[in-house]
C-alpha cells in the first residue's frame, strides 16, 4: 500500500510556506512524491534549489522550490498550505483565482482567523459570535472554490522529524477521500497517519494547545516541577475541550493524538516558540521584547487574545486562558498568575464526558 502510493501521483504535491513546519511537511511528502514548495522570498527559493538547504534545515532532493503561486496551483492538485494564520486569508486570496474544484487542500496552520464586521477590531466587539471566528479550513471554503479540504495536526516537532525519529499525525476531513490521499502521501516507515472526520475538532486541537504550551513554558521558567506541569496539562485539556466544543469540535477528538498527544509533546518541548514565550515571560521579560526577537510567529499569543473573548462571549470557564491574557496584555506577573490558579475555586476533576 505504502510502496504502491509512490507511483500513484502523477503530479507533484504542493506546499505553500517555507517556515520550519512548511519545510518539515515538504520533506515528509518528498519521501513519497515530487514536491513543489512555494516560498515568497526568492532567496529561499534560490537556496533550496541550489544547495538543498535553508536556514538550519536540509531539504530532501525531491523538493523543488518556486516563487510563482499560479504555477504551483496549475502543476499541483494536492496542496498543503502551511503559513501563519495572520497571513492565511491573504495567501488563499492570492491563490484562489488559480484554484479549481478538483484541488485538494490540506493545511497545517495552527491558528484562528477573525472575520469581524468591516472596520471593527477585536476590542470593539462586545460579543463574539461563532461566525466571527474562522478556522483555516473555513477560510479556504470562504475564499476559494475548493471544497475537499483537510487539516494536519498532531505531535510533530519539526526538528525531531528532521532527524528521522518516529512520529505520527492526524489528518482530518469531512471527506474520506482527502484522509486517504493524505495518508498515502505522508505515510512512511517512521511516520504514521491517523484519520478523523471531525475537521473542526482537530483544527481546534492544534490551535488551542498553543495556549497550554505558553503556560508550560512559564512553569519551566518558574521551575515549578513536573507535578505542576501534569496539573497544567490535565486542566489545560479540560479547558481546551470546553473551548473546542463551544466552537463545534467533538470531545473525542481532544483525547486523541492531535489533542492530548500534541499537548503532551508541546508542553515538554523546550524548543517550541510558544514554550519560549511563556518561559521568557516567567523570567520577567515583557511580551514586546520577546516577540521582537522571534523569527517566526508564536500562534499562541494571538490564540489567547481570541480565546479569551470566546470564553467571555460563550460563557465558558477558561481560567488558564484568562490569566495568561492578563499576563500577556495587562502586565500581571507569572507568579501572581500561578497563585491565582492555585486558588481557583472550582475543582471537579472530569465533567466533560
Amino acid at each position: 500500500m505504502v510502496m504502491a502510493s509512490r507511483s500513484t501521483f502523477k503530479k507533484p504535491i504542493g506546499v505553500v510556506g517555507a517556515g520550519s513546519f512548511g519545510l518539515a511537511v515538504a520533506n515528509l511528502l518528498a519521501e513519497n512524491s515530487q514536491v513543489l514548495l512555494f516560498a515568497r522570498n526568492p532567496e529561499v527559493v534560490e537556496a533550496i534549489n541550489t544547495t538543498k538547504t535553508w536556514d538550519k534545515y536540509k531539504m530532501h532532493e525531491n523538493v523543488h522550490a518556486i516563487n510563482d503561486i499560479q504555477q504551483l496551483a496549475e502543476k499541483c492538485e494536492v496542496i498543503f498550505p502551511v503559513v501563519p494564520s495572520a497571513n492565511f486569508r491573504e495567501m488563499i486570496k492570492t491563490l484562489s483565482p488559480f484554484l479549481h474544484p478538483y484541488h485538494i487542500l490540506i493545511h497545517a496552520t495552527k491558528g484562528l482567523d477573525l472575520n469581524l464586521p468591516r472596520g471593527k477590531t477585536l476590542a470593539d466587539m462586545e460579543v463574539l459570535e461563532r461566525r466571527h471566528i474562522k478556522t483555516m479550513s473555513e477560510v479556504i471554503l470562504d475564499e476559494s472554490v475548493v471544497v475537499r479540504v483537510g487539516c494536519l495536526a498532531g505531535p510533530n516537532l519539526a526538528f525531531e522529524i528532521a532527524q528521522g525519529l518516529p512520529a505520527a499525525t492526524v489528518i482530518a476531513s469531512h471527506f474520506n477521500e482527502v484522509i486517504q490521499i493524505g495518508q498515502q502521501l505522508l505515510r512512511s516507515d517512521r511516520f504514521q497517519v491517523y484519520g478523523n472526520p471531525d475537521l473542526t475538532g482537530i483544527e481546534l486541537c492544534g490551535v488551542l494547545k498553543n495556549i497550554i504550551a505558553i503556560a508550560s513554558g512559564a512553569l519551566s521558567g518558574l521551575e515549578l516541577g513536573e507535578n505542576a506541569r501534569s496539573l497544567l496539562i490535565s486542566r489545560g485539556m479540560v479547558e481546551m475541550i470546553y473551548l473546542g466544543r463551544a466552537m463545534g469540535g467533538k470531545t473525542e477528538s481532544f483525547i486523541g493524538l492531535a489533542g492530548i498527544g500534541d499537548l503532551v509533546a508541546t508542553s515538554h518541548s523546550t524548543l517550541s516558540r510558544n514554550f519560549t514565550v511563556g518561559n521568557r515571560l516567567a523570567k520577567g521579560e515583557n511580551l514586546e521584547d520577546i516577540l521582537k526577537d522571534m523569527k517566526e510567529v508564536a500562534e499562541g499569543v494571538n490564540t489567547i487574545r481570541i480565546s479569551k473573548k470566546i470564553a467571555e462571549s460563550f460563557k465558558i470557564r477558561a481560567p488558564i486562558t484568562e490569566i495568561l491574557y492578563r499576563v500577556l496584555f495587562e502586565g500581571l506577573t507569572m507568579e501572581d498568575a500561578v497563585q491565582y490558579l492555585m486558588k481557583y475555586p472550582l475543582n471537579v476533576d472530569v465533567d466533560f464526558m
Binding site: 501521483f9 503530479k11 492538485e77 474544484p101 478538483y102 485538494i104 476559494s144 472554490v145 471544497v147 477521500e177
Partner: protein, 560 residues
C-alpha cells in the same frame, strides 16, 4: 392592493410539444424504464451488501417490516396481492434457510422480485392527454370556483373576471429559471407546508411554460380515486413513507436518479414532509437530493463536457393561511412534548375531506405567493445566463471538477454524501432569503414574542397554556414592536438576505389591518383578533405559534 394592477405576463412554453417532453419518453416506455430502474437498483443493493448472508439478512428485515406494515397500517391504495406476495417471499426465504448450501441465484431472484415490485409501484403513469385534461380541468375549475365565491352569485360561476393569476403571484428568478430549463434539467426544491403545495406547484410549472415535472407524491394521496387520477396525470410518482426498508429506499433513489439522467425535470420537497412547526425547513432529507448529485456525476461520466447540467432551484411557497395548521402544530407539539413514535397517518382519508379542503381554499383562500430562487448547480454554486457555474468573483468554474481526481471522474459515495449535505445547506440559506414575509407572519411573530418576553420564565409549553386574560396585547404595543421588526427586516432586505411582500412597504397601521384580516383567516379559532376594546389577542396560542414560526431562526427575537 396595487398588486391587482400588476401586468400579468404570459409565458410561452419553452418546449413546443409533448413529444419533446422527457417525461413522455419515459412513460411511453414505462415497462422498459421500470426494468432499467430494477436492474440498476439491483446492482446498487448488491454492491452495498457485503455478501450473501448480509443480503439474506436484509431480505428478512424487509419481510419483517413489510409484514408489520400490512398488519398495522394498511391503506386502501395497497394492492390486493400485498399479503400474498409477502407470504410468498416468506416461504421462499424459509425454504432457503433450510438448505445447507444457499444458492446465490435463488437469493438474487427474490431480491429482483421485490425490487421490480417496488419500481413498478413507484413509477408514474404519465399520459399526455390526461395531463392536458387534468390541467385544463384544474385551471378552468379553479377559476370558476374563484369567481363564484368572490362575486357571490351563482351566475358568476361562468364569469371570467378573476383568474388564478389574481390570487397567486409568482416572483423571483422566473426568467432565469426558464432560461436554465432550456439549457439543462431543472430540479425544483420547494418548501412544504400544505397538501395544497403539490397542486399549487403544478399550476406554477404550467403557468411558467415549463414542461411537466415528475415529483414524488405521498402514496396516501393516491388513496382517493379522483386525486390519484390527477396525480398520475400530472407526472407524480409514488413515495410510500411507510416503507422505510433499504431495498425500497434504494429503488426509489434509483428511479429518481435515472429519470434525472434522462432529462426529466423533477421536484422534491426536500423537507420530506410538511413542516409541522410552521418553520422554514432547516434539516433537509438528503436521500432524494443526493440523486441529483449522483445523476449529474453519471451525466459527466457518460457524456463528458457535453453532459446535460442539472440545476437546483429553491422555491418558497408563502401563505397567510395553512388549512392544516391546527393538526400540524398539534403533531409538532406532541412530538416535542414527549419523544414518541407516531404512525405516519393519512389525514386526507376521504374524497370529501380533500374536496372541502380545496373548495375552502379556492373560494375563501387568501393570496398566495410563490418565490423562485436563484438556480444553482448541484454544489450550490450560482450559474450565469449560459448555465455555467460561477464562483464568488464571477469566475467560471467546471462542475465536473468536483467529481474528478487526477483528471478522472471517480465514483465516491462518501464524497457525494458530503456534497449533498453542503447542497442542503445552500438550499436552506436560499429559503431564508426568498421566503416572502407576509403581514400575517410579522404580526404573529410580534404578538408571540411580546407574550414570550412578558413571561420570560415560562417554557414553551407553559407559555402556550397561558390563560386568556394574560393574552391581551394593546394595539400600541403591537404597533411599536411591528414597527421595530419591520425596520430590521427591511434592513435585511437591503442586505439581500430576506424578502418581503409588497404590502410590507405600506404604513404600519395598514400592515396590521392587512395581517389581522388575513392571518389564518378560515380557522375556526383565529390566531389573532381585535377585541371590542381595540386590543389584540389570540384565540389559539398554538396557531399563533405556528404562524410565528415562519420567522424563526432569523434572530429577530432580540428586537422585540
Amino acid at each position: 392592493m396595487f398588486e391587482r394592477y400588476k401586468s400579468k405576463r404570459k409565458y410561452e412554453p419553452i418546449l413546443p410539444g409533448p413529444r419533446e417532453w422527457p417525461v413522455v419518453q419515459i412513460s411511453k416506455n414505462r415497462k422498459e424504464f421500470v426494468q432499467e430502474v430494477s436492474d440498476i437498483a439491483f446492482e446498487r443493493i448488491k454492491n452495498t451488501t457485503r455478501n450473501k448472508t448480509a443480503l439474506i439478512e436484509e431480505l428478512e428485515t424487509t419481510l419483517f417490516k413489510e409484514k408489520a406494515r400490512i398488519r398495522e397500517n394498511p391503506w386502501k391504495v395497497d394492492p390486493d396481492d400485498d399479503n400474498s406476495f409477502w407470504s410468498g417471499v416468506k416461504h421462499k426465504l424459509l425454504d432457503l434457510s433450510q438448505k445447507k448450501v444457499k444458492d446465490s441465484d435463488e437469493v438474487d431472484k427474490i431480491l429482483k422480485e421485490i425490487i421490480h415490485r417496488y419500481a413498478d409501484e413507484i413509477a408514474g403513469n404519465f399520459n399526455t392527454s390526461h395531463y392536458r385534461f387534468a390541467r385544463g380541468v384544474a385551471t378552468f375549475g379553479f377559476n370558476r370556483l374563484l369567481n363564484a365565491a368572490r362575486v357571490k352569485k351563482f351566475g358568476s360561476f361562468w364569469s371570467d373576471k378573476l383568474t388564478m393569476d389574481d390570487k397567486i403571484q409568482i416572483n423571483g428568478e422566473v426568467d432565469k429559471l426558464r432560461e436554465m430549463a432550456k439549457k439543462g434539467t431543472i430540479v425544483l426544491v420547494p418548501t412544504h407546508s400544505s397538501n395544497l403545495d403539490s397542486i399549487l406547484i403544478g399550476w406554477v410549472i404550467y403557468t411558467l411554460g415549463l414542461p411537466p415535472v415528475i415529483y414524488g407524491a405521498g402514496l396516501n394521496l393516491f388513496n382517493i380515486a379522483i386525486i390519484s387520477y390527477f396525480m398520475n396525470s400530472l407526472g407524480a410518482y409514488k413515495v410510500d413513507r411507510r416503507k422505510k426498508n433499504m431495498i425500497y429506499l434504494e429503488t426509489l433513489k434509483t428511479y429518481s436518479s435515472l429519470a434525472l439522467q434522462k432529462g426529466c425535470e423533477s421536484l422534491f420537497f426536500p423537507g420530506g414532509t410538511r413542516s409541522r412547526s410552521g418553520m422554514l425547513e432547516k434539516d433537509l432529507k438528503l436521500g432524494l437530493l443526493g440523486t441529483a448529485i449522483e445523476a449529474q456525476r453519471i451525466n459527466f461520466q457518460e457524456k463528458g463536457d457535453a453532459a446535460e447540467k442539472i440545476f437546483i432551484v429553491p422555491v418558497s411557497l408563502n401563505y397567510h393561511f395553512v388549512l392544516e395548521a391546527p393538526s400540524l402544530i398539534h403533531q409538532y407539539l406532541e412530538k416535542q412534548g414527549q419523544e414518541r413514535y407516531y404512525v405516519e397517518n393519512d389525514e386526507f382519508s376521504s374524497s370529501y375531506k380533500i374536496i372541502t379542503f380545496l373548495f375552502k381554499f379556492f373560494t375563501k383562500g387568501s393570496n398566495i405567493s410563490v418565490s423562485i430562487g436563484k438556480p444553482m448547480d448541484v454544489l450550490g454554486n450560482e450559474v450565469n445566463e449560459n448555465g455555467e457555474s460561477i464562483d464568488k468573483n464571477n469566475r467560471i468554474i467546471e462542475t465536473k471538477d468536483y467529481f474528478t481526481y487526477q483528471n478522472e471522474i471517480t465514483i465516491d459515495k462518501q464524497r457525494e454524501a458530503e456534497y449533498t449535505r453542503m447542497l442542503s445547506e445552500k438550499i436552506v440559506t436560499q429559503y431564508r432569503k426568498i421566503a416572502r414575509v407576509f403581514s400575517s407572519n410579522l404580526l404573529a411573530f410580534a404578538a408571540f414574542e411580546i407574550l414570550k418576553k412578558r413571561n420570560k420564565k415560562l417554557d414553551l409549553f407553559s407559555l402556550l397554556r397561558l390563560p386568556d386574560e394574560d393574552l391581551i396585547i394593546t394595539y400600541e404595543e403591537l404597533k411599536s414592536v411591528c414597527e421595530k421588526l419591520k425596520k430590521k427586516i427591511l434592513e435585511r432586505v437591503e442586505e439581500d438576505c430576506m424578502s418581503v411582500a409588497d404590502h410590507i412597504l405600506e404604513p404600519i397601521d395598514s400592515i396590521i389591518a392587512h395581517g389581522l384580516l388575513n392571518i389564518g383567516m378560515y380557522h375556526s379559532k383565529r390566531p389573532l383578533i381585535k377585541t371590542k376594546e381595540g386590543d389584540i389577542t389570540t384565540m389559539d396560542m398554538n396557531l399563533l405559534y405556528f404562524y410565528r414560526n415562519r420567522l424563526d431562526g432569523y434572530g429577530l427575537e432580540k428586537y422585540v
